[in-house]
């Protein structure tokens, strides 16, 4: 299933996937995916309540500007702690050494279990690094 279809299932407007700029406050199409349950009341028909809760609105977060090149830059390799993440990132580190030796890589294990935040590491990466690769989920 591609990203467009996935986001559609989420109830996100297709407009989110276009380049139209005006999204603030936009309401999206109904999420239910199938069925005939939108017909007028008539003989033999009943009306039922939609049992779904209310999703929070989504504040779009801008992605950080990309780098022109990784050459001469420092890339942090962040291990989330999931099984095998360290092995994967070590192989990525080796790949950079073999294929892009101008890239400096720094391996770091995120503090705490995988679901916990590590603001100190994010601060370090922002001050000392140029990019980050985080793995693996899972």
């Amino acid at each position: 299933m591609n990203r467009r279809t996935l986001l559609s299932l989420l109830g996100m407007s297709p407009a989110l996937l276009t380049t139209e700029p005006a999204l603030a406050g936009q309401s999206t199409a109904p999420a239910p995916k199938s069925g005939k349950a939108s017909l007028p009341t008539g003989e033999g028909k009943i009306t039922t309540i939609n049992p779904k809760g209310t999703p929070p609105p989504i504040q779009l977060i801008p992605m950080a500007p990309r780098l022109d090149t990784l050459d001469g830059k420092t890339v942090y390799l962040v291990d989330t702690g999931f099984h095998g993440s360290d092995v994967l990132l070590q192989q990525i580190q080796a790949w950079f050494s073999r294929n892009m030796p101008g890239v400096t890589t720094v391996f770091k294990r995120k503090a705490g279990p995988y679901a916990e935040d590590d603001p100190a590491l994010w601060k370090e990466i922002k001050s000392k690094g140029n990019a980050a690769i985080m793995a693996v989920g899972h």
Binding site: T54, M63, G84, L88
Partner: protein
């Protein structure tokens, strides 16, 4: 962070990764994918992953990674603003047969037939509480997702669908107000349990006698089922690949483990009194973990006059993960014997179990949850894990980090002295009376 980043996710979690990034405001996040799983693979096998294709895009994985960090952002990726998510119109109109199909096909049910939540039935359900239809009850998420919110009417719809009577509704509202979903996204296929205490057990005719944990009374059956429907409909849980990742799933998720404590037959104080409530208050307490096992499988469970339930339980717990707690569900016969053996309070039994349920450091370190959750805490210096990880392999340590990880309730019909035990952690106790 403000600098370019590239998350790497295994292919099995593609939908989860894309959808959760979108829910958090980055629908176009540049996620790169490796084959699944990475866990258990040799460095040589993982190197082949790194040098091979991204199994989602088909392009070389490391080209995807480098591009994620260096290709300029598109107009889509620079978008700002607020997006609302629609869950459809507030009502649906059609024939009953079509609506049954509609609710099933749209993921509103547990794939069993439901009571259709007509406006009349939902209104009748809401008469079981004094709270107004539009009052906000709480927020719920089935994992690390932005939580959904809901009001009394929305809760009532799922209560109707589960087959609850209006007089059960305050319990449903209390559960909903906790924000605890009984379907959780983890790959571990979690199970959930609730303990009901107070006079409401008799007023609503809960079964806490023979077959206390079985399908033998309407409130036990439907209130448990309602929790799962709440979790799907109000917390957006239970969507395989998106908000549910349990590899095997858990049959207990159909109606959860509903335990009305047999307070009159218990030699100990009721569970809710342990948590600071008065005996006459009505309370629902919630638990989360991996499941429930029977005591008959444990060493020391031979039915003779010398049966020692403390050793039996301790043996049972030795297979549990200490990440979750241990919930003892004691038949009154078991509880009475334990009292005869000197455990005249729950606390005395808990103290013994905490001190005598042990493991070697070597065994502890071999456990999945220790590696995944405790080892990172140990690295950070969190206790007791930091100390445990410094000990020699043959050192003996408690199986559970705290005595408070043990909980005890009494239920059952006294047809035999069998306990059951859940690898379940206590999470919260909620007043039912507040929602009357």
């Amino acid at each position: 962070m403000g600098i370019p980043s590239a998350p790497l996710v295994t292919k099995a979690f593609k939908d989860l990764a894309i959808l959760n990034a979108a829910k958090r405001g980055m629908p176009h996040e540049r996620i790169c994918f490796t084959p699944h799983p990475v866990w258990g693979k040799t460095p040589e096998e993982v190197r082949a992953y790194v040098e091979g294709p991204d199994p989602v895009s088909g392009k070389p994985l490391m080209k995807e990674v480098v591009d994620a960090l260096t290709v300029p952002l598109s107009d889509e990726e620079r978008k700002l603003g607020m997006v609302t998510i629609s869950v459809g119109p507030p009502t649906f109109t059609d024939t009953a047969e079509n609506l049954q199909d509609f609710y099933l096909n749209n993921g509103y049910t547990d794939f069993l037939p439901i009571i259709l939540p007509t406006e009349e039935k939902v209104d009748r359900m809401m008469k079981g509480s004094s709270h107004k239809p539009d009052e906000v009850v709480g927020k719920m998420a089935a994992g690390a997702y932005p939580p959904w919110s809901y009001n009394v009417r929305q809760v009532a719809a799922s209560a109707v669908m589960a087959g609850c009577r209006p007089e059960y509704f305050p319990i449903i509202l209390a559960i909903a107000s906790s924000g605890t979903a009984s379907l959780f996204s983890s790959t571990n296929s979690f199970a959930f349990a609730m303990v009901i205490n107070g006079p409401i057990r008799d007023k609503l005719e809960f079964n806490y006698g023979i077959g206390a944990l079985g399908p033998f009374a309407q409130p036990n059956a439907t209130i448990g089922r309602a929790w799962t429907l709440l979790s799907k409909n109000l917390g957006n849980g239970g969507i395989p690949g998106d908000t549910y990742l349990g590899s095997l799933g858990n049959n207990l998720n159909y109606n959860n483990v509903v335990i009305a404590e047999h307070e009159d037959a218990s030699p100990w104080v009721p569970f809710h009194v342990q948590k600071g409530f008065k005996r006459e208050e009505n309370v629902v307490s919630l638990f989360r973990g991996l499941g429930v096992v029977p005591g008959q499988v444990a060493r020391g469970s031979s039915a003779n006059e010398n049966v020692q339930f403390d050793y039996q339980m301790s043996d049972l717990f030795s297979t549990f993960t200490g990440f979750f707690g241990a919930l003892i569900i004691a038949d009154p016969l078991v509880a009475a014997r334990l009292k005869e053996q000197g455990y005249d309070t729950k606390e005395k039994l808990i103290d013994w179990l905490y001190k005598n349920t042990t493991q070697t450091v070597k065994d502890y370190k071999s456990r999945n949850y220790a590696y995944l959750f405790d080892y990172p805490r140990a690295l950070r210096g969190d206790e007791p894990w930091a100390t445990w990880y410094k000990l020699p392999d043959d050192a003996v340590i408690p199986h559970f980090p705290r005595a408070s990880d043990f909980n005890i309730v009494v239920a059952g019909g006294q047809t035999n002295a069998y306990p059951q035990a859940g690898n379940l952690s206590y999470s919260a106790s909620v007043s039912i009376d507040k929602w009357m």
